[in-house]
């Protein structure tokens, strides 16, 4: 069927269905058709739904999603610094429904009866499945940070790690930072969504303050870790761009001749990274006084952005799909939960060996699970999986990009990364940094196409 015909056909069936819903419903789905239900229409859930329909058009797919439109977290720090606005990160579910025939129920999932294979929602709807795919993203755990355990504290100091209005709050807070003020950014401990993300955000904020004309503004990163994905590329960039001095304790991650190429800046840089070994771990926050107490001392700030420790999305925890770590253990070949059969967990919520919690990982996992479910429904053997992740990040300046890229395969029951370089080489060419930034911006669009159109 040509595209033209398909479009007409679609128009016709949609109109016919509206007129005689029962008939259309019956003729559309035969009783023996398999039904896959998906909890969450984010990167993982939406990619799964689209690819399940592409790989196996005979399978019915219903996504249950609490929000009518998706706001993408990937690339969302650029909202804070005004590079993009909320419209740019808001995505419609229309194409998934109209072009790919994915059913959507806009409601919040509240429970699953695993014996009856039945999902229930806040509005009282119950939906049965042959297999269930759970992709609810993340939740936030403030219990370990003294001073952050109240609702009021969490509204004053926001994470902005799950898109939404918190990004606008951070944007306003940044605009309100006085000239030559101080911003404190607190990344979470491992594992967490988007490993280079908190550092990219710190870089973007630094660049924004410089663009505003601040000569002595400061961005301080208080970190519970001694390293992060893309660190060797990012720290070199900051040394070049922002007068950043390499922490002594980090020098061992470079070769001595590489350390020698770092400039030793006389005045402390505009961006500062206090790694765990140097006292970066935060113990207490005083919201009213705007101070953050770390092991290294007390830091006074004009703006504080804390990304607390993360866990799997709340519904995954409620359903008993997570283990003690707060994340969901899954078979590494099929992503079927090791705690509940016929339930697959993908995206940030699952434990996927060495795969990071990223959009690209969620997207790749979703496609693998669609292929595995297709095989399982047909009574065929599952397929040896190959997965990929690519995370781009900016140093702060919009034309200085970098990335981490990996291919993952199953080895001894775990997803392991292929033994290849994952970052740009040290001292890459200017063209490579610039091109990485070009591809970063291109990816925001191509990736969204792959999931939602």
């Amino acid at each position: 069927m040509s595209t033209m015909n398909r479009r007409n056909f679609l128009k016709f069936t949609t109109a016919a269905a509206a007129a005689t819903p029962f008939l259309a419903g019956k003729s559309a789905f035969a009783a023996d058709e398999k039904h896959i239900v998906v909890i969450g229409g984010g990167v993982g859930g939406a990619t799964f739904a689209k690819y399940m329909r592409l790989y196996a058009p005979e399978v019915k797919v219903t996504v249950i999603e609490r929000k009518k439109e998706y706001q993408r977290p990937y690339g969302s720090s650029e909202i804070i610094v005004g590079n993009v606005d909320m419209n740019d990160i808001t995505i419609s579910y229309d194409a998934l429904q109209k072009k790919h025939g994915v059913n959507f129920v806009f409601d919040t999932v509240t429970g699953v009866d695993f014996d009856k294979r039945e999902v229930s929602t806040e509005n009282g709807t119950k939906i049965t499945y042959d297999r269930l795919v759970v992709a609810p993203g993340i939740s936030f755990d403030y219990s370990g940070i003294a001073g952050m355990d109240t609702e009021a504290a969490q509204q004053a100091i926001v994470h902005g790690w799950d898109a939404g209005d918190q990004l606008l709050t951070l944007q306003k807070q940044l605009e309100a930072v006085p000239v030559d003020g101080t911003v404190v950014v607190v990344p979470p401990p491992n594992p967490y969504r988007c490993p280079p993300g908190p550092y990219e955000r710190a870089g973007l904020i630094t660049q924004w303050l410089i663009n505003r004309g601040d000569k002595n503004a400061k961005v301080i990163i208080l970190d519970p870790k001694n390293g992060f994905t893309t660190d060797v590329t990012m720290l070199q960039a900051w040394n070049r761009l922002y007068g950043f001095n390499l922490p002594k304790a980090f020098e061992k991650n470079y070769k001595p001749e590489q350390v020698a190429t770092f400039t030793k800046h006389e005045t402390p840089g505009k961006i500062q990274w206090v790694m765990a070994e140097e006292g970066g771990r935060v113990v207490k926050v005083d919201v009213a006084a705007k101070t953050v107490e770390a092991e290294a001392g007390v830091f006074k700030a004009d703006m504080i952005n804390i990304i607390p420790p993360l866990k799997a999305g709340k519904i995954a925890l409620d359903l008993g799909l997570a283990d003690k770590s707060g994340w969901c253990p899954v078979d590494q070949k099929t992503f079927e939960s090791t705690l509940h059969p016929l339930v697959h967990v993908i995206g940030d919520a699952c434990i996927a060996g060495e795969m990071p919690k990223s959009g690209y990982s969620a997207n790749s996992q979703a496609k693998v699970v669609a292929l595995q479910i297709k095989a399982l429904l047909a009574g065929q053997p599952t397929i040896e999986p190959v997965l990929q992740n690519t995370c781009y990040a900016l140093a702060g300046q919009s034309d200085y990009g970098m990335f981490v890229a990996d291919v993952f395969r199953l080895k001894d029951g775990k997803l392991k990364r292929a033994d290849q370089p994952r970052y740009l080489p040290f001292n890459a060419s200017t063209a490579q940094y610039r091109l990485s930034a070009v591809y970063l911006h291109a990816w925001m669009d191509s990736f969204t196409q792959d999931i939602f159109s």
């Binding site: 069927m1 595209t3 819903p21 019956k26 429904q97 496609k367 292929l371």
Partner: protein, 119 residues
């Protein structure tokens, strides 16, 4: 409200946009003919190069419809460093010759994305 809904009934009740389960579109037809291992390897490219390599109006190279020899040559030159790249070098080096060949055949069989204006 408390009801039990299966897929067909959910449609009938108008919860969802009505689309028949099996729409024969070119993407689906193309995938049906491919070996599962080829589809598995090729899916890893889609996050940048678009679904089935049919990325639209973007800095990334569309892979759909690329001749097999061109795909294989590009991947091998990325992998051995003779073609400069940002991340394609290490990524290409992570795939076996057999996987590269399977991906090449997969993309060669997918129709090129047609720009609306050129139809």
């Amino acid at each position: 409200m408390n009801k039990t809904i299966t897929g067909a009934l959910a449609v009938a009740l108008g919860f969802v946009v009505m689309v028949p389960a099996a729409i024969a579109n070119p993407e689906q037809t193309a995938n049906g003919a491919q070996s599962p291992a080829a589809v598995m390897a090729a899916q890893t490219c889609g996050g940048c190069h678009g679904t089935m390599g049919q990325v639209k109006d973007n800095a990334f190279m569309p892979l759909a419809g690329m001749p097999t020899s061109q795909f294989v040559l590009a991947m091998k030159s990325f992998a051995n460093g003779s073609r400069p790249s940002t991340l394609m070098g290490p990524l290409a080096a992570s795939f076996s010759d057999a996987e590269i060949q399977a991906m090449a055949e997969y993309f060669a069989a997918i129709p090129k994305f047609q720009h609306e204006a050129n139809k």
